[in-house]
Symmetry: D2
Subunit: 249 residues, 4 copies
């Protein structure tokens, strides 16, 4: 950046804007290079698919409570962003790490994806750890996964990571006794891995995807609802010790 | 600060620790001088009185939701602190500003506190604005106000600002048709004003006072409750448009 | 939202993704309706134009310091978002409020935009208040303003608010003795006002626009720089009292 | 909590305030029981010792940048709290975990603390991992450690964890070729472990200890400094690709 000129990764930002969308520029910022037409389409879908998930989301609940306290819009959004932890969007990173590590192993060992998948599912079922990117508390067939795979096929972005992810899904019945669906986090993880993204930027997709929704919830809470939204005192269940005397009184 | 030595407002921190408490050092940081014995006692009570208010508090609710997402302890506490807005602790500042402005006017105009109080209450009842520091959604006689006033009397810290605050309270029946109690925010505001604090640091008292409680709630949520606490999808009431077709499809 | 189905403002999110971009869906979330082709183009440019402004931005500096402390990616981004205050992105809201208020006045009074503009500039120059949306510390001709106006013209979105904003700019020489350029905040404010957005959601544009950049800075700090980035102790200038003895020692 | 009554861990908060300090009440909130006289003194020192570390601290730097943007006081403090990550205060938790794990091993194996200490230092020196709680970038003899140990001795709170921590320190010369001092984080970790605190609440001590300082820095930045504090554009070193043409233009 210098006076009257803003350059992003070597390109003049104003010239970029004539030919590239917001999703393309996000790709440029995170990868250092401009996307192809196929990568552009995939990127836009990746950023759109998690847009909104209603109040059934702890980050949105946090936004609502903070927004009710008489704070500026960005403060409430900031609290929501801070909630994108290991169990709320963070699975993208864990799943992408797993897939990227295992594809490396597969290639080095020159083994089949089927073999790798079987080893993974067995390992997780034995250790009783959660398999990151599989299962969903609400959806039994995550519509977002279906759409993402459709676009990954169309754009020919689909590669070894997606294939491995699907092998894993198909083996969950056998090892876990029930189908653990490839959920939206796992599917995003597989696709961004096939696009060449480092797993450690995985949460960036969730942050950008959810940002407009957090803004909308903060706005709605601030201007269309009552201030000071808190659990009512008579709804709260106190689980501490019963009332007692202070020693020596 | 320099290697092997930490100096706070001119005093060596390690020497201070032998003679002064945490509340005293907070006073030193915020005022630049050490407190007297009376100021020390008052300060400690000011920082203790808002310690905890259960889940009946939007900041605690925000802490709980964020803490459930798989984040470090400080992230959840940070979200709680961000919620101390105009309607949640912020009243301390608004009430302290009102009292400090009005005491200045009273002194300049050489008028009685009774006259000033009457002018204030009349103004707020006519404009139908909320009188900052008065009324409480849960308490009808805020036990924290009683304790604060007791200590302010004992330590002789009580001065013109507290007196004005009490005059105002006693006039609410006449002008609002019901008693608006001097609540904890209003009482803290009056006392810190009598102690000479700038109203703009008022929220600092609330932040420090509530910090241990936010830590306790974050800890409890993280280690004694289930992860991923969100409103259930079937509890959420959707108020948007009914389902509709995309134009052109 | 219900199992296996996500509906946004009445539309099925998965169907939307086939025809609408991320910027379009942001428009839908914030307005409740889908954008026209022209609104779609304008929206995308609005979200792209503030993408990145290097370390010459306090939010980016905050992200860098927090990211250096051993925290998850989203924590650093959250700190950056929290910095979008009145003087950092917030001008969008102040400028949009001014323009929307004054266009209302203009229409009600059936006066010319030139008259309104003159009244505004005179008022601000007399009160010596900062005119929100005008002037820039680094740019003398903000390239982002130029691009935004170009697209607003092409899409025919440009209306009374943009016109008023330009009248104001042209009068700054006369009233302030120097040209105060219409900056990117002021220009966004004018355009979103012509698009019908409430000024109170103005900061949402800045948040979404800057989010990918904050992610990129957090990532770069976490993985390509040293941990624990702090001002060095010998760079810090202590301005407090000189060292002194504790009373009574 | 119920109308007109606030009960903390079974005790009436207002009655507590007559006999217990802020530090005592923090102990009660975190442990569920009231402290003894010795625990009370130790607790107060634990909360005071990290009070302030000037701008030589990334959380304070973050507070300063955010506070400069035109945000409420608590927003800036919140950003500072969010920076208390693994490398900034977080060492308390890592060191306390290490000490608590190893004391358990020592007791189960009925081995001497000297043996345990030797095994730990050898392990860390071989793996070249950072030994949590040892070494400091600025201090060669951390004055805070000295004070903490002095009080831990006086109050007889010092126990096996502190002893182990000191054994480790004395072995660093032999295994690392230089003295790695027991720093303030490591010393707090040892003492709270001897007091029976779970290592996972370790960061709570740092949060509460630093809160008044963050408030003071936010206040100073907001009211005694210029707004919009950012790295100057000509101080920033751009390390990306040199300017280049967009493909196809």
């Amino acid at each position: 950046m210098e006076p009257n000129k803003i350059v992003v990764r070597g390109y003049n930002l104003m010239e970029l804007i004539d030919k590239y969308s917001y999703a393309d520029l996000t790709y440029l910022l995170w990868r250092g290079e401009l996307p192809s037409k196929e990568q552009s389409r995939m990127m836009d879908v990746l950023l759109s698919v998690c847009l909104e998930h209603s109040l059934n989301s702890p980050s949105v609940d946090a936004v609502r409570f903070v927004a009710s306290c008489g704070v500026p819009l960005q403060t409430a959004v900031s609290a929501g962003v801070s909630a994108f932890g290991d169990w709320h969007g963070g699975t993208i990173e864990q799943a992408a790490k797993l897939l990227q590590d295992e594809i490396r192993v597969t290639r080095e060992g020159q083994q089949s994806l089927q073999t790798t998948a079987e080893a993974i599912v067995r390992r997780f079922s034995e250790s009783k750890e959660k398999l990151p990117g599989y299962g969903h508390p609400t959806h039994t067939a995550d519509p977002r996964t279906k759409k993402l795979l459709e676009v990954a096929n169309e754009t020919k972005i689909r590669g070894a990571h997606v294939e491995l992810a699907q092998h894993i899904e198909s083996l969950t019945d056998k090892y876990f006794g029930r189908r653990l669906i490839l959920n939206v986090d796992g599917c995003i993880a597989a696709i961004i891995s096939d696009m060449g993204f480092d797993w450690r930027i995985g949460k960036g997709f969730f942050i950008v995807s959810r940002a407009p929704g957090l803004v909308a919830h903060a706005y709605e809470q601030m201007y269309n609802d009552k201030p000071y939204k808190a659990a009512r005192w008579d709804e709260v269940v106190y689980t501490g010790p019963t009332e007692r005397k202070i020693p020596g009184t």
